[in-house]
């Protein structure tokens, strides 16, 4: 499994190495007055004249010691930039993940219980539209409605502008968090709702539910005592497996709301040709997605014990 993580890092490194970005130009700027000698010195110092494979091993060796290099656009160590920003993103993603999971699950159960009813049809339409619309577009609509027209929430950023860091209160932070959170929750909800709805109606057709009905349980009792258990674990598994989508949505939402998290940093790093930062973020992202998939794989084993022995590649 760890091999995969290593492969992803090789892939990312090779892609960036081959990009038409000259690290020197990116660092010094296009109008450099450095002499050829000085340039050669810098190249020597950075190891730019070595083979890509050697450069990969140097980089990987440093990364393993916790040194991700210096960010060119922030002029600070990459690890500091990431540390500072990852808190914003983790709070945002964690809350959106939980909220979309709980809300989506509840909506899916309610819709799946009465297939074809009014609620079911509206939920289905809502999910279809949400799944078909780009995350940033939903973000723009949310921004336009709640921040511009209604004026309930600030336009963007994580803290109010022009307020000293010491005076930023929890209220400010929450106020700035709500709109990105809403966007990301809406975006992530479609999949889990549709899945729960489908799964519940499958479960409701199974024999043990028929038996429960025969014992005279009401529909509500059946869901509370039996059905939801059969749906909850697969739904949780799906939620863990969707870390990659969550990250993508987060990056777009952060860009729309200028929220200073890791997603906004990704685009900034790529646009400014800030290679060390970009690589650092890619690595962190890979670990993040990897953890989600690992948990999902472990949960698959719990959900379906047949997968536990040997069938891992199925």
């Amino acid at each position: 499994m760890l091999v995969l993580l290593l492969l992803v890092s090789v892939l990312a490194f090779m892609l960036i190495i081959n990009a038409p970005i000259d690290p020197l130009v990116a660092y010094i700027g296009p109008e450099s007055t450095l002499s050829t000698q000085a340039i050669a010195q810098v190249e020597e110092h950075w190891g730019l004249n070595q083979s890509p494979i050697a450069r990969y091993f140097i980089w990987m060796g440093n990364v393993l010691q916790g040194d991700f290099g210096m960010s060119m656009s922030f002029k600070r160590p990459v690890i500091n930039v990431i540390q500072e920003r990852i808190m914003y993103s983790f709070v945002l993603m964690g809350l959106a993940w939980t909220l979309s999971g709980v809300l989506g699950f509840a909506m899916g159960i309610a819709a799946g219980l009465r297939r074809g009813g009014l609620f079911d049809r509206s939920v289905k339409t809502f999910c279809l539209i949400v799944q078909s619309s780009p995350a940033f577009w939903i973000g723009l609509l949310v921004l336009s409605l709640f921040a511009v027209h209604l004026g309930w929430f600030p336009l963007g950023m994580a803290v109010p502008m022009g307020v000293p860091a010491a005076e930023v209160t929890m209220f400010h932070r929450i106020q700035h968090l709500i709109l990105p959170l809403m966007t990301l929750t809406i975006v992530s909800m479609g999949r889990i709702t549709m899945f729960t709805r489908q799964k519940l109606s499958e479960v409701m057709d199974s024999d043990f539910i028929t038996f429960a009905r025969a014992r005279g349980l009401t529909e509500g009792q059946i869901v509370r005592r039996h059905a939801w258990r059969s749906v909850a674990l697969p739904a949780l598994t799906l939620q863990f497996a969707s870390f990659a989508e969550l990250f993508g949505g987060m990056a777009l939402a952060e860009t729309v709301f200028s929220y200073p998290g890791i997603g906004a940093a990704t685009t900034a790093a790529a646009l400014n040709a800030d290679v060390p930062l970009l690589l650092g973020i890619v690595l962190i992202t890979a670990v993040f997605v990897f953890c989600g998939n690992l948990i999902a794989n472990l949960l698959y084993g719990v959900v379906d014990p047949r997968l536990r022995d040997g069938g891992s590649s199925a």
């Binding site: 995969l4 993580l5 492969l7 992803v8 892939l11 990312a12 892609l15 960036i16 081959n18 990009a19 038409p20 970005i21 279809l128 539209i129 078909s132 619309s133 780009p134 995350a135 940033f136 577009w137 723009l140 609509l141 921004l143 336009s144 921040a147 511009v148 027209h149 336009l155 057709d205 024999d207 028929t210 009905r213 025969a214 990659a244 989508e245 990250f247 993508g248 990056a251 777009l252 860009t255 729309v256 990704t266 685009t267 790529a270 646009l271 970009l278 973020i281 890619v282 992202t285 890979a286 997605v289 990897f290 998939n293 590649s313």
Partner: protein, 290 residues
């Protein structure tokens, strides 16, 4: 088995319009959706650039009969600009999904037919590709290729094959055990012959559905990457470009700049989904139970 409400009703429905059976209705839905999409594509393709040209005297006109989507900060008509943008996005999406699905077909078939090391390699590549969020990988590839239309197109093409590969592989794995395939092997046909003559034709329906369903993802990711500034250059009309321009003016209440182009994109995506899902049910009777 005892059920409370039978799903299949034996009494004919009372409405008069039920003469059309499900199959006919699916065919009609697919044709209508396809006609609309093709129409938008061709209209956008042959659109006269002067219809979305710059008119500084008519900046920021809200939606009206003259400009049904309004105009932007350079006085360009948003309806025609969005139309052209959607057409451009569709072209990129089409190329990307064609490449992506070709990779999936080749990888999926090879993986299932040859098994062993090839299978392991393909699965590793799939996992590797899924190990990063699509968005991040598309950005990486796009940056590596120097951005622009080719960059984003290849970026999307090279990231969207894993899911279809898995589907194709599963399908071929099943087919491999079929009697007629085994018979063909026993008659001394080569693997390549069996693959081309017996297996690929049977995978084609799955493949076509996969291709159509890939399309919306491709368009959405193209729009997202362009929105972030890595895809199509800012002067081309594209949905991503239009929406990122809209973002700059949304704080001053120019809501129409974002709402309508996005709606146009969603309608296209939904219709592609409709076509894909309906084709799936048309081509595979087993999934028509719903």
């Amino acid at each position: 088995m005892l059920r409370q409400k039978p799903r299949i009703s034996l009494t004919p429905r009372s409405k008069g319009s039920t003469r059309l059976n499900t199959r006919t209705r699916l065919v009609i839905a697919v044709s209508v959706a396809a006609t609309y999409l093709l129409g938008v594509f061709i209209w956008g393709w042959f659109l006269d650039p002067s219809s979305y040209a710059v008119h500084f005297e008519s900046q920021f006109i809200p939606p009206s009969w003259g400009h049904i989507f309004g105009t932007d900060f350079m006085g360009r008509d948003m309806f025609f600009r969005s139309l052209k943008g959607l057409s451009n996005s569709m072209l990129i999406g089409l190329l990307a999904s064609l490449i992506s699905s070709a990779i999936a077909l080749a990888f999926g078939t090879a993986s299932a037919l040859f098994g062993g090391k090839v299978d392991k390699l393909v699965l590793l590549a799939v996992d590797c590709c899924m190990g990063l969020p699509h968005l991040v990988l598309v950005i990486l590839i796009s940056v590596a290729l120097g951005g622009g239309a080719t960059g984003v197109m290849l970026g999307v093409a090279l990231t969207h094959w894993p899911e279809l590969t898995r589907i194709v592989r599963a399908e071929v794995l099943q087919l491999r055990e079929a009697w007629y395939v085994k018979a063909s092997y026993k008659m001394g046909k080569s693997r390549l012959y069996v693959a081309a003559k017996h297996i690929v034709p049977h995978v084609i329906p799955v493949y076509i559905v996969g291709l159509v369903l890939l399309f919306p993802h491709a368009i959405m990711h193209e729009a997202a990457v362009t929105f972030l500034g890595f895809g199509l250059p800012a002067e081309t009309p594209a949905i991503g470009v239009i929406l990122s321009e809209a973002m700059r003016h949304i704080a001053t209440g120019k809501w129409w700049l974002a709402l309508f182009p996005g709606l146009l994109l969603i309608v296209a995506v939904l219709l592609f989904d409709t076509i894909g899902e309906n084709l799936k049910r048309l081509l595979n009777p087993a999934s028509a139970h719903e």
